[in-house]
């Protein structure tokens, strides 16, 4: 069972945020049609990481846009625009991430789209909202991370701002976009009316920090202070962090220092009897722990601490993780066969419905691959 069977989504979005939402909707059963300009297609086709391309588009594009169709249309050409408008009349959802003003100029802004199809869910992604001094700024992941304060949460105290090393703002925003779209679809089932859903990278990445920003708003506005070494969360007490061992690294989450001190037979740790000092004396405590933990192998500590219920773990790289039984049992992988015979080995949707994993083997489309069939199907 795919819960969104029968839902049709037109995706005008490019790059990461919007298309990552489209991918979730597709994996949940929706039919997602990318509307791409002829020739060059979606901008994300040319954005590569490690300069990797397959079948003419970047590997990243293939990762984000699998399980979708492509309809090529030049929105500046009146005939193409008419056809797209016909499609909009048939669609349940459309998404776009053009900068404020662009859809108005094309004539596909919310009011126009609503006039075509009052049941349509119209979903828009922006960088910083539609008004204000930042509205015209590029809505790019790293820039939003850096403007939102996020870069001061990771890394150690003496490190400069340390961004999250993935397109976190894009991914979080895409997931909020999916929330808004799905909630609006549900509302439509009760009211018969469509609606407008708007998210922005900045609002989403502020929401992502809601716990710590709420703390900041209520603690006399103290800025986050990262631990001196092994920081894993600026607001959490020792022992929370990563530690070097004799042969690698280990992670130690929240736990009682009294208990840990007893297990490690460290009087220095057991001296911290007042819980408040676990935060105030964090650097000192973490130094003591460093001194102890570096003397033996990771496995020794995991055995010793883990057996007593202390929250510890190894620190894996991809090679170790992806070769581990705990990974293979998830059946997280899937392989997509491309038109040119190449294969893309990627991951599946993380959501399980009625105990079923949601696989989808269909690869990302070539530009306009489905233009003709869609035109025939909808009499465009």
């Amino acid at each position: 069972m795919r819960p969104l069977d029968g839902i049709m989504v037109l995706e005008f979005c490019q790059f990461m945020a919007g298309p990552s939402a489209g991918l979730k909707l597709a994996d949940l059963g929706a039919r997602v049609i990318k509307i791409e300009r002829p020739g060059k297609g979606e901008g994300g086709r040319q954005i590569a990481i490690k300069n990797l391309f397959v079948d003419g588009s970047s590997l990243v594009f293939h990762t984000i846009n699998r399980n979708k169709e492509s309809y090529a249309a030049n929105l500046k050409d009146p005939k193409d625009l008419e056809r797209v408008k016909k499609l909009i009349k048939e669609a349940d959802v459309m998404t776009h991430n053009f900068r404020p003003g662009v859809m108005e100029r094309i004539g596909l802004d919310y009011q126009m789209a609503k006039a075509l199809n009052p049941k349509l869910i119209y979903a828009a992604v922006s960088g910083y909202g539609t008004g204000g001094p930042w509205a015209g700024k590029p809505g790019q992941d790293l820039l939003v991370q850096c403007l939102s304060g996020l870069a001061y949460l990771s890394g150690d105290e003496s490190d400069g701002p340390t961004p999250f090393g993935l397109a976190t703002a894009d991914i979080i925003t895409g997931s909020h976009l999916a929330h808004g779209i799905l909630a609006a679809l549900f509302r439509r089932s009760r009211t018969g009316k469509g609606g407008l859903v708007e998210v922005s990278l900045l609002e989403s990445v502020v929401d992502f920090q809601f716990e710590v920003i709420t703390t900041y708003l209520n603690d006399g506005r103290r800025l986050p202070k990262r631990a001196r070494k092994g920081n894993a969360h600026a607001y959490l007490s020792a022992p929370y962090g990563v530690y070097k061992t004799k042969n690698g690294y280990m992670a130690l989450a929240m736990g009682s220092l009294t208990t840990i001190g007893r297990i490690l037979q460290s009087d220095a740790l057991m001296d911290f009897t007042d819980q408040r000092d676990w935060f105030i004396g964090r650097d000192e405590i973490m130094d003591i722990l460093c001194g102890i933990l570096q003397k033996r192998d990771t496995a020794h500590w995991l055995q010793l601490l883990g057996a007593k219920g202390i929250w510890v773990s190894e620190v894996y790289d991809y090679e170790t993780l992806l070769g581990h039984e705990a990974y293979s049992i998830l059946e997280m992988d899937q392989k997509l066969k491309l038109l040119n015979g190449e294969e893309v080995h990627t991951t599946r949707c993380p959501i399980r419905i009625n105990d079923e994993r949601l696989f989808a083997e269909r690869p990302a489309p070539r530009i306009g691959q489905h233009t003709e069939t869609i035109a025939r199907e909808f009499g465009l």
Binding site: L4, I49, N51, L59, I64, G129, L142, C146, L147, S148, L153, S154, D159, G160, P161, G165, L166, A167, I172, H179, L182, A184, R187, S189, G195, L196, E198, V199, S200, L202, E203, Q209, E211, V212, T214, T215, L217, N218, K225, A232, H233, A234, Y235, V242, Y249, A253, I280, V312, E314, V315, Y316, Y318, A326, I329, L330, D333, H345, R352, N354, D355
Partner: protein, 381 residues
């Protein structure tokens, strides 16, 4: 009308993962009843961060659980459990994040709940799925980050693992739970059938890395390499990163190196004409940039790069962000009030609907604050 009006959620979960999901549902209009054990309640109530205590409990709890009600019940006590089952009978959605096995022991697994309420959407989060060698491991965020390979993506090369400094596995699994729940609601509106939605923090944090894991598979399993300095994404070339300036920092996203050389008047950069080299030689290029950018202020560099449409920005802390007009105009901060009159500031739901922001004045509940009122209203004797 908020989209989830009249939807009743019974929430047995604690900490952050699933409670962050029910916060989203609440903000979109659902009524969320937290079922909490007597005396301690959700353990998050005592999970203090930086020793901050807000009206007697953790600021983090206050952030995650506003706009919810609290019903006190001991699920191991049979009469309390009967009351909760009667609540579940009336609910549209049941949420929990018990470890695998625990929910069966409580007699609240899907098979049993379906008998009480066949149309329910039964949604739960585990740490690592319900089978395999890690199924009983604690589903704790830092452990998930450490096991999933994530901690090798941030920070500079040469450093040890650098976790992302927020509970990202919790947040993403909560977010995926919301997606599954809402999709199931859409399905139910057409078919009148309920569904079970299962999320694990491990699958969610792997999904977050779908780009880099796919790349790892494609490039023959090469180890992740962070750049030696100014790393912001291990798989992207120069100039992508954050640089110190004379008076602060500057973030540079993707862009052509020779163009940057031209704009910044940095002769050495103009030599890097081959885009392939921007990845292969990024350590060297980033070092040149770092040395050059130190010589001017952030404002100076922005005044050159922004008009040329080069992707760049200042690096703000929260003081400067919250003071900025670009932030204020979003009206992202709201004040909420608890049942005892205590009020505090927090953020609002990030989604806008029909041009409106979604806010709610309700603060987090005291433990058991609504037990009696809920019982009288929903399960009268």
């Amino acid at each position: 009308m908020k989209p989830l009006e009249d939807i009743l959620v019974i929430d047995l979960s604690q900490f952050l993962s699933a409670p962050s999901a029910t916060l989203r549902l609440a903000d979109m209009g659902a009524r969320v009843i937290k079922v909490e054990r007597p005396e301690t309640g959700d353990i998050c109530r005592q999970l203090y961060v930086s020793n901050v205590i807000l009206n007697g409990e953790s600021s983090v709890f206050r952030a995650i659980n506003r706009n919810k009600e609290s019903f006190e019940a001991d699920l191991k006590d049979s009469s309390d459990k009967q009351r909760v089952l009667r609540l579940i009978q009336k609910a549209d959605i049941l949420v929990h994040n018990f470890r695998p096995g625990a929910i069966e022991r409580l007699g609240l697994d899907y098979a049993l709940i379906q008998k009480v309420n066949p149309g329910i959407i039964y949604a739960h989060i585990s740490g690592y799925g319900e089978e395999g060698p890690w199924k009983s491991k604690p589903g704790q965020d830092l452990l998930l980050q450490s096991l999933s390979g994530l901690s090798w993506l941030s920070g500079n090369g040469g450093k040890g693992p650098v976790p992302m400094g927020l509970a990202i596995a919790d947040i993403l699994s909560g977010s995926h739970l919301v997606q599954g729940i809402l999709a199931a609601l859409v399905y139910k509106s057409k078919t009148n059938k309920g569904a079970k939605v299962s999320i694990s923090m491990l699958e969610s944090i792997l999904d977050f890395q779908f780009e880099t894991i796919t790349t790892f598979y494609h490039d023959g399993g090469k180890p992740v390499q962070r750049s030696q300095n100014s790393n912001a994404h291990a798989y992207l070339g120069a100039p992508y990163g954050v640089y110190a300036t004379e008076n602060g920092h500057l973030a540079l996203a993707m862009g052509a190196i020779p163009v940057l050389g031209e704009l910044l008047d940095c002769e050495a950069l103009k030599a890097y004409i081959d885009p392939e080299g921007w990845f292969a030689q990024r350590d060297e290029i980033k070092q040149v940039l770092a040395d050059h950018l130190k010589k001017g202020t952030t404002e100076k560099w922005l005044s050159i790069l922004e008009p040329a449409d080069f992707w760049c920005s200042d690096v703000l802390d929260w003081h400067r962000l919250l003071d900025h007009e670009g932030f204020k105009i979003l009206r992202m901060i709201q004040r909420v009030t608890m049942g005892d009159g205590f009020s505090y500031e927090t953020t609002r739901c990030p989604i806008r609907l029909d041009g409106e922001i979604l806010t709610s004045p309700l603060g987090s509940p005291a433990l058991g604050e609504h037990t009696q009122a809920i019982a009288e209203e929903l399960i009268p004797d």
